[in-house]
Symmetry: C2
Subunit: 353 residues, 2 copies
DNA sequence: TAACAATTAGTTATCGATAACAATACTGAG
DNA sequence: CTCAGTATTGTTATCGATAACTAATTGTTA
């Protein structure tokens, strides 16, 4: 190992391994033709010297840019920043640069931002966060410029690019099932933004879980929501004003769930004694709230690291996409916190102003 | 202008300007000796070709890295991500790369993370967000490696490095003054994390504004807080349980202010009719809340862009630091929203469970 | 005005990697 | 065993910029 401060170069590795620099370079490339013997020699030299290629030199010499764009529209700051931090770290390790950009507005604007970014940096890859992951025009454009695309939780054209997600359906199913096991029968659901595919899956998971236990769902128990706090306030107020309010509210994300808690408290009920509340995403608000919010945790760091890894495993070219490369479904965790409890034996209190 | 897709190089500029590439290079450097005539020729050629230097080539050829580290400890995700987005954009424009890293834990850990980053990337500059901006050991280390440092809202060794902030004192003063003008006399304050310098300034602004109007502050009206939602819940509950609760609560950040709103609602009072609430920072929660929160907006994008600009204006070397380069105090904005109203004529309701 | 500094501009080598081509080492068929 | 054909490895030029040196120009002073 060279004395710290000085980084070792490909020349050092080549000398130590007793091969040419090209052989080292080839050992690093995913699809190069190189003998096993050389590869081993090079690999051990790399380890010994703790060598890592100089990105700038690479970028200059090759036609690749090693830039990966992370494009998002308007998911919550928390969602984005959680995703970023894992992706950044992984990028650094693998010699990529992450370029984060917000694509706002209508389709035209979004496309313009993407084009601009591309003109400026010549992206090698792009990661699309919801709801951009389902923007067909954007995907078309990126693929037409032969930019590798990885989508997070897409709902459309599932097999067109590799994607990463959790099983939203199953998560919602299990949460609902759990509430039922705690004795809840009157479970309401606050839907998410219909533009985001996962909303549909979460709703369906809830519905199917209810039906699987032979529970019927009153129409009014499924409320419209849009992933915003405000929409959660309205939806939860609607639910509490029903003649028979629910004993549990399952919201499609944490912002709406925390709005539900606020409403419940404001109307003189308490969480979880009177009404249990569950959210989705495990965003920071879930633990800043009091009572803390039970929710579904997505493994954001794993997801973002996985996304970057996909780029490094050779070019993601459409023909070579095997199913196991395309589908990357990671495990969720149900975070049980203070906001849920067994159903109250009887709920006959009246709300008081 | 070259046909889009192809970027023009320094050679193109040199040819068009009728000079050598070195002259172009020098025209771009901050302290190079070059005649006005050549500089003008080069500049117009650069404009015509829309030339922007290739960062990789630069990094390879020079001893600079063009990496700027953005180090933060644990300010809210919202604070960091707002800062990042401006900084990223500016970096792209000026040919830097922003490397974002979280430095957690005790001083030793923080230092280790910074050293690691430095070994890996050889930073040209570092931006320190609070509370890292006041970590003397960290600043010492970075300066000792001759990394340019820009600090955000520092409280210690103010003149050691350039810094960027708003006038927290004045903002707090004006907010308090505004509440007083609305007829509030019983104004309480929830303090921020004492590790963060701005906390002290915000408190002092509040105190001085009260005194300037000859209002006295009951001891119990100044509550301990730590910038967290939970600490805001406790502090506000304390305030509402006083025999004469305040008619206005000013919290040193939005998280605590929103906790205050939650407590007020839970105890059967309403905002702003019974009690006005003001926060600080204009974080996303301020507008997701209902009622929306009046607060002080820091110009985060301006701050982050300014920070990056400082690096590009030649090396920030300690000797050349004039006062006007060091101090960068930007303007805040008081965001008046739904959570404040004139003081109630009389507050004689009792809280009801 | 000649002689010498000080400024400004140009030339060449270099950073660390890969592309494209050239050379060599293996392989199996005849 | 030889030779074509393939698999592997090496050589040289190159990416786009700057450092370090050299050359030319300008300005100053005796």
């Amino acid at each position: 190992m060279k004395n710290s401060g000085e980084r070792s170069t490909i020349q050092d590795v080549a000398k130590l391994a007793g091969v040419s620099t090209m052989t080292v370079s080839r050992a690093l490339a995913p699809n190069a033709s190189i003998s096993i013997k050389s590869r081993l020699k090079v690999e051990s030299a790399i380890n010994e010297l703790n060598y890592r290629p100089n990105v700038s030199a690479r970028r200059l010499a090759s036609d690749k840019s090693f830039f990966i764009g992370l494009l998002y529209d308007n998911p919550s700051a928390a969602y984005v920043s959680q995703f970023i931090s894992g992706a950044m770290r992984k990028c650094r390790r693998l010699g990529f640069h992450l370029v984060v950009d917000e694509c706002n507005g209508d389709d035209e604007n979004i496309l313009a931002t993407a084009k601009n970014l591309q003109d400026e940096l010549a992206l090698d890859g792009a990661i699309l966060l919801p709801p951009l992951c389902d923007n067909v025009k954007l995907v078309d454009y990126l693929l037409s410029r032969s930019i590798s695309v990885v989508r997070i939780a897409p709902d459309i054209d599932i097999n067109r690019t590799p994607y990463i997600c959790i099983n939203d359906y199953e998560a919602a199913f299990k949460v609902t099932e759990h509430l039922i096991k705690l004795g809840h029968h009157k479970i309401a659901f606050i839907k998410g933004d219909p533009k985001i595919g996962a909303s549909r899956l979460r709703l369906q998971g809830y519905i199917d879980a209810m039906h699987s236990q032979n529970l019927t769902i009153a129409d009014e128990y499924i409320q419209y929501g849009a992933f915003t706090y405000k929409s959660g306030l309205i939806a939860s107020a609607n639910l509490l004003n029903l003649s028979t309010p629910p004993t549990a509210i399952f919201a499609a994300n944490d912002d709406m769930a925390s709005a539900a808690i606020a409403t419940i408290n404001r109307l003189g009920f308490s969480v979880p004694e009177d009404i249990s509340v569950v959210g989705f995403d495990d965003s920071p608000i879930a633990t800043t709230m009091w009572p803390s919010l039970s929710t579904v945790q997505q493994p954001m760091t794993d997801m973002s690291e996985k996304a970057i890894e996909l780029f490094s495993q050779g070019k993601i070219n459409p023909e070579a996409l095997t199913t196991d490369r395309i589908r990357n479904v990671l495990n969720f965790t149900i975070m049980q916190r203070e906001s849920i409890a067994p159903a109250p034996a009887l709920l006959d209190q009246k709300k008081q102003p």
